[in-house]
Subunit: 163 residues, 2 copies
Amino acid sequence: MNTTTRWLTAQEQHTWRLFVQACQSVFAATDTQLVRDSGIPHGYYEILVHLSEAPCRALRMTELARASTYSKSRLSHAVARLEERGWVLRRDCPTDRRGQIAQLTDEGYAALAAAAPGHVAQVRKSLIDVLTPEQVRQLGVISAAIVAGGAGGSLACDDAELD
Amino acid sequence: MNTTTRWLTAQEQHTWRLFVQACQSVFAATDTQLVRDSGIPHGYYEILVHLSEAPCRALRMTELARASTYSKSRLSHAVARLEERGWVLRRDCPTDRRGQIAQLTDEGYAALAAAAPGHVAQVRKSLIDVLTPEQVRQLGVISAAIVAGGAGGSLACDDAELD
DNA sequence: CGGTCTTTGTTGAATGATCAACTACTATCA
DNA sequence: TGATAGTAGTTGATCATTCAACAAAGACCG
């Protein structure tokens, strides 16, 4: 792009690498715990959480994708697998015949409720409890700034929307 | 496990969710940029970086796996694909006949050098430049604490080492 | 109405990651 | 030396994710 690259300073590079490592560390630990103790593969937990918090434990696919930062394609596959487990089912949307509504089943809610304590404990072990309350506060502010920055433009929106 | 779950406080949950979002945001953006501009799929960049910084631009597979926080299996597959591109080649280790040494080729180094400026720019856009210098410093300290905590035990070491 | 554009969601192929099993070699110890 | 255990790395099956293409329905406009 430009001929002059603003390289990272030593401190910036150090922070970047530590940040990458920290994220890997936290997510590897939480994923491992969830799969081991609840058989919920990775990000499916988040889908269940968002559904559980929605009005009738149901959301339009697009809404759910936005909330979970899943692409539509990914969500479609994921919901198909959750449906196989009986944790979610698809309903037609009454107001928009294109639409599909993902509905959390009682089994799905039960699975989520059973998984939650272990997951929360792991989040504490991996993140919250290794930081001081002040650091937790700082991390919240920092994360908000990053999210607000939109990661510098391309938010990985969805299929075929680059360029 | 235990009957008493220490749930997250509102602030803690808020921070946790923001942190998850922030990480997704940053890594989605950096991955997208790298693939788009350099055709380097996701974490391969990190492998190339570690090799480029090693003594003869070469590392034992196990060393490389540790540095990149890859499982041995994942690394083996990844190096196989990098080898197909001509960016890395495998040599036998002279001192340990089990060992393999991954050697960065000149083409690999050139690909890395070509990709670096765009990647650095994206890291700035996604992370560094949306934070104040003080926040960058704080994030470094926080990340170090998280890494030191080892994510609460299970460090996702490798194959068949759970339980 | 009829045409075009956009949105919604799915599908299948291709790629990447994980998991369990395996070979081959080294290390330890009797 | 021989037995046993541990380490290095690979492989193939399985599953998750991405990408491009697609069908079906709404939205807009003449």
